[in-house]
């Protein structure tokens, strides 16, 4: 075991609290009859998930989770519930309820068996001090621009003027995620941008008033 990757008790406790909240809210989402309430519980579940992200040293993902899911998606869902008066009196579960419970329980069992029976390669099994420093410590990088530079543990070294002591990528992930997005993953990144534009245009095209229909902006 490596001390650098040990999870503090407080964090562990907070993780269990956050997961309990998330799971409880998720169960409410799929069982509660009032769709608006379900949307609110969905937002609660999202917040719990973002707390889990924070505890997993993924601040950026956690904040993006709040920004996108709580700030946009769940609000949009609440908006549509408000607009569509039909759903206000509830959504009954369909007849396939027991079958669905069975299927999802089977999937959960499969996941659990797989998770606990796999021999994972863990960070705590790392022995290279440079690698450990790169992940959760402070390190010095030889050639910052190219990304090919050698990473060295900064604890025993006096950094020169041109070198910067950086926090390990798990300690301060935001900058690294940004660098990854515009370097290695630039193609998926651009594709996601295209997908979003396409979705936007598609949504607008779907909602455009058709010929002969009254303009939803009011008037006649």
């Amino acid at each position: 075991m490596n001390e650098a990757f040990e999870v503090p008790t407080v964090v562990s406790f907070a993780f269990w609290v956050a997961s309990a909240i998330t799971i409880a809210a998720a169960i409410m989402v799929v069982t509660v009859r009032d769709v608006f309430k379900a949307a609110v519980f969905l937002a609660g579940s999202f917040i719990g998930v973002s707390a889990i992200f924070f505890l997993l040293n993924a601040e950026f993902v956690g904040v993006v989770q709040i920004l996108v899911y709580v700030g946009a998606v769940s609000i949009l869902i609440a908006f549509s519930v408000m607009m569509i008066s039909d759903v206000s009196h509830g959504s009954q579960p369909s007849r396939a309820r027991y079958a669905s419970v069975t299927v999802s329980a089977l999937v959960l069992a499969a996941i659990a068996v797989t998770v606990y029976n796999t021999e994972w390669t863990l960070n705590s099994g790392l022995t290279d001090p440079d690698a450990i420093a790169g992940l959760s410590g402070t390190f010095i990088e030889d050639e910052i621009a190219s990304g090919e530079g050698r990473v060295r543990d900064a604890s025993g070294i006096q950094a020169s003027d041109s070198q910067v002591v950086q926090t390990g990528v798990l300690g301060d992930s935001t900058g690294t995620v940004g660098a990854l997005l515009v370097r290695e993953f630039v193609l998926p990144f651009e594709t996601v941008g295209l997908v979003i534009v396409a979705a936007l245009i598609g949504g607008l095209a779907l909602m455009r008033p058709r010929e002969g229909e009254p303009d939803p902006r009011g008037g006649g």
Binding site: P8, V10, A43, I66, V70, F79
Partner: protein, 424 residues
């Protein structure tokens, strides 16, 4: 106890005062504290509680002061005196109001969804109070110097839309639901220009942390990023639903909007959250665009910060006293057709400038004051034509059909054409 949280000096000072001894504290001169070793979690909890109480009380005090100040200033704009009976210059009026609100009867409408109805004020107030944690109100005086501070602020404030929707829906009141629909459309629309306008600042500073943003401002960003400031200011006005974007609770049309069915302290909490949002918004504007606590040396940094926040709040109140409220379609078209384009122009110009001047790839250093002044000059040169252009575009009505009569919203009989509108 991650290093990030311990970095902020206020948190560290309190934490080390309580716990002492632990790593990260000894190097700052705290060798022993109250608690024995092994009780770090307790110290953590105590510190969190103490700071939370302190900051929440501070925020509430700020809100009460803001309510009083706004009433006084607004009264001066209208040649009145404003509240002046309770305390010196009426400064205890807000306290009296708060006490009165607490003792009112707590009414829940019969048809209301009690769970959501009671939850909405909480959801409304918590994010706003969380924002105060990341704002540096002086050198080293902040609870948590998050490395994602700005993004955190934008993300956490976006939850208020959900709270408004909850409050509106659970009231089972059509006026409140109108307000909720407006609020959601408005908040979601204005989040986009708000976040994008901060992107220009981020390009220059290269950090999301609030302290880093202040340290990068050798020249206040209101000068370097005029377009960014304009857009962010307007979007922030919309996000905290202030005039001229206060159509969430447009009192002449919607009575009080989503606040309609709330009473007693639940109303108080919702009201407080809204005003706290104003304080927080002014603080963020002061931090990001007015260089936060920076200033000349004899005056302490806290005073500088408070002065800048007061200036921003005065501007907000001034606007409230002057401009009329916009219609919902005007508000949305301003967001999508006006501010969005402006941020795009700002973004492109700033990107080009940053790429042209940046040599910080190697050492992560910031732009010098001279470089910032050059940027400011270019940005101001872009500012006027682009605002003029976008204003022209907004003012023109490309969709208007010349062949037909202008549509009337409600067909009414006038003397000239009796019931003509009703026929078609």
């Amino acid at each position: 106890m991650s290093e990030t949280i311990l970095d902020s000096s206020l948190f560290r000072n309190v934490y080390c005062y309580v716990a002492g001894g632990s790593e990260g504290c000894v190097s700052h001169g705290y060798s022993e504290g109250f608690l024995p070793a092994g009780y770090e979690w307790l110290a953590f909890a105590i510190t969190a509680a103490v700071l939370a109480i302190l900051f929440i009380q501070g925020a509430l005090g700020g809100v009460l002061a803001l309510i009083w100040g706004e009433r006084r200033i607004l009264a001066r704009f209208q040649n009145r005196v404003g509240p002046n009976r309770w305390g010196p210059f009426g400064s205890l009026t807000s306290v009296a109001d708060a006490i009165k609100t607490m003792f009112k009867e707590d009414i829940v409408p019969d048809q209301a969804d009690r769970f959501l109805f009671n939850l909405a004020p909480v959801i409304m107030v918590v994010p706003v109070l969380m924002v105060f944690a990341v704002i540096p109100i002086g050198v080293g005086t902040l609870v948590a110097d998050l490395n994602i501070g700005l993004l955190f602020v934008i993300a956490i404030t976006s939850a208020s839309g959900l709270a408004i929707a909850m409050a509106a829906w659970s009231s089972a009141n059509r006026i409140a639901i109108f307000s909720g629909l407006r609020a959601v459309a408005l908040l979601v629309s204005y989040e986009i220009p708000m976040a994008l306008s901060l992107l220009g600042v981020l390009m220059i500073t290269g950090t999301l942390s609030m302290t880093g943003t202040i340290e990068a401002q050798d020249v206040p960003f209101i000068i370097v990023q005029p377009l960014g400031f304009l857009v962010f200011f307007l979007a922030a006005l919309a996000e905290m639903s202030r005039t001229p974007f206060d159509l969430t609770e447009a009192e002449s049309e919607l009575a009080a909007g989503h606040l309609n069915d709330y009473s007693s302290m639940k109303f108080g909490v919702l009201f407080l959250a809204e005003w706290a949002a104003t304080v927080a918004g002014a603080m963020i504007i002061a931090t990001v665009f007015l260089s936060g606590w920076r200033g000349f040396s004899p005056i302490p940094s806290h005073i500088w910060f408070v002065g800048k926040v007061v200036a921003v709040i005065f501007l907000i109140i001034w606007i409230r006293a002057t401009w009329p409220r916009l219609r919902i379609d005007q508000v949305l078209s301003l967001a999508w057709k006006g501010l969005f384009e402006l941020t795009m122009i700002n973004l492109i110009v700033t990107a080009i400038l940053t790429a042209a001047m940046a040599d910080r790839e190697a050492d992560g250093s910031l732009f010098s004051a001279g470089e910032l002044w050059i940027m400011a000059a270019v940005n101001w040169a872009v500012f006027f034509p682009s605002v003029y252009l976008i204003g022209k575009l907004l003012a023109s009505k490309p969709y208007e059909d010349d062949s037909s009569e202008p549509q009337e919203l409600y067909p009414v009989a006038t003397e000239e054409k009796a019931f003509e509108g009703a026929a078609d």
